[in-house]
Symmetry: C2
Subunit: 344 residues, 2 copies
């Protein structure tokens, strides 16, 4: 029984305490860290809820609030194939520059998955003070944002909360759907009427978003969509196979809008495999405007994520949260830019 009580106590979250007291999470946080900010009756109500539920705030998280290290923790992902990692590397450079303008530096750490990333936060909080965290690659059922929110730690994500159940936090994201939509509009302007989509398997927030933009634009123009969306693993060979299946249709598409430059690179090869010329016979558009898109000949038209804008917005949101003022969760969608080259 004693064991069970202990377990229950550890699972009490800040949010549960806030709900119990009918106040905001920030109010509970203030009751713990800045009681002078609260009216006496609010403070009393918050404290009662904290005691009733047996909430024990993370000690490290509290000390975090009381000192400033001017450091932002950021988990760097492992080096990938160099194509898909490119946008995150661009973001890292941009984040470092943006942080600099607010007198912050980045503290980098590595992790292999969500659980070890959370372990990394925990360790950083115990070892030394970082003021805040920036997270990238949010995904459905993201355990990291919940963990940080439960401890009232200031953080902003590059990537929105994707699931209904995911915690609503401060985020900045690039509007992927607007990107694929712009790609479809672009090829329609160049006379294409059968526009296909080559994307990732359903179930990833980012992938479904890019699919949704294609579908929205195609339907808005009254064009066919049935059988024109093919989806599979990311990668050049996968893109080649997926695009080949489209080009082999009885009524093949004349334009291929792809969810990544890797897939688009594969699509370019599938086009060449059939003796066709990209940009003349079939339009191909990629996503992320990686160095590879620029270096291709013909150059690959691609959707570019404005990571500099995203990084600035993230640091601004973070700075607001670090003033200690009550700031509600906020999200900001940034519209990407289509970089037109000769593949379309």
């Amino acid at each position: 029984m004693a064991v069970k009580a202990t377990v229950q106590r550890q699972q009490v979250t800040l949010e549960a305490v806030a709900r119990h007291a009918h106040v905001s999470r920030q109010t509970i946080s203030n009751a713990l860290n800045a009681p002078h900010r609260l009216a006496p009756d609010t403070l009393a109500r918050a404290k009662r809820a904290i005691d009733t539920l047996g909430y024990r705030p993370n000690q490290a998280a509290r000390s975090l609030r009381t000192q400033s290290s001017q450091l932002i923790g950021f988990r760097i992902e492992p080096d990938r194939d160099g194509i898909n990692g490119a946008v995150l590397d661009r973001f890292l450079h941009a984040l470092c520059e943006a942080a600099r303008l607010e007198d912050y530096h980045l503290l980098l750490f590595t992790a292999t998955d969500d659980a070890s990333e959370i372990g990394g936060y925990d360790e950083l909080l115990r070892e030394r003070a970082v003021d805040a965290f920036v997270l990238s690659s949010t995904h459905l059922g993201d355990a990291r944002t919940r963990w940080l929110a439960d401890r009232s730690l200031p953080f902003v994500t590059f990537g929105r909360p994707w699931g209904e159940q995911d915690h609503r936090h401060a985020w900045v994201d690039v509007d992927g759907a607007a990107g694929t939509e712009a790609a479809v509009e672009h090829v329609i302007r160049h006379g294409h009427r059968r526009v296909a989509f080559v994307g990732w398997p359903p179930g990833s927030g980012v992938g479904d978003d890019r699919h949704a933009g294609w579908l929205r634009a195609v339907l808005a123009h009254g064009l066919a969509q049935r059988g024109l969306a093919v989806r599979g693993e990311d990668g050049i060979e996968s893109g080649r196979t997926l695009a080949a299946s489209l080009l082999g249709l009885e009524q093949p598409p004349s334009a291929l809008v792809c969810a990544s430059d890797s897939l688009a690179l594969g699509a370019l090869r599938a086009v060449a495999d059939r003796g066709l010329v990209a940009g003349r016979d079939v339009a191909v558009v990629g996503f992320d405007d990686t160095p590879v898109a620029m270096a291709m000949e013909p150059g690959l038209t691609s959707v570019r994520q404005p990571v500099e804008k995203a990084a600035s917005a993230i640091v601004r949101l973070l700075a607001e949260r670090l003033t200690g003022a009550h700031v509600p969760p906020a999200g900001e969608l940034i519209i990407p830019t289509l970089i037109e080259r000769s593949s379309s």
Copy 2:
């Protein structure tokens, strides 16, 4: 006169004090930070020299030695065209992983040139403790290594000291000459007898090193070299122009060994411009094995820098220096790997 004396005092370096006392720099450093390590007469000699020359060690640098932040400062360079920055981004990921194994994290900062990078060190030392620095992109007359050495700060560079006058410090580098040499040996094995070099203008340590490897291998095989080395700015268009001049010779080369993947990409285009096929009519080899080299069709043979090995060696050298023991300057050259693809 008073002004002049002050100026002179500020310019006194640790090295000058060491020379004056006929002891090592480490001894002077110990006299300031760990006097118990020195024999009484050595300590007295060191102190006399410090007083005579009026040497004033950087206060922040001294406090740096007395506490451990487990942070390594690293300047991240601005995002470049994505091709030439790729190897440094790979290095950053590898350095973060290697540091992790020794319980270090990276603190990232930005700078636009050597002077502002030095400003960054100074600021980091004043603001908070970092234990050490890792530097990339060493070059002739590097002011950064001198500045750090004068303050007895622990640092290791990814890149060797290039100039005769440059400070001898701890470094790890990839043997670029061995890379281009391997590229020449590779094309010779495939029957090529006229092997040209496409590189950067003379005067850069890295560029001259890659040129030297080509020359060494060509001479070792008794092959022609006169007129077969063309050098210009980095970049795809530059590579195209340089390679075109070689292919337009009365006796054109049948193999082009390039100092970068950007130049090699341009060379591939120059080959195609003449209606030739890379890998069949003309062999092309790049350097750095960037994502672009992998994504090309035909794939570009390229020299790959083992940045993981370099990062591990750097963290090891750094850890040795952070134990406080006297460690002489050490350098380690890592042999790169040729990744063979169909362009050669």
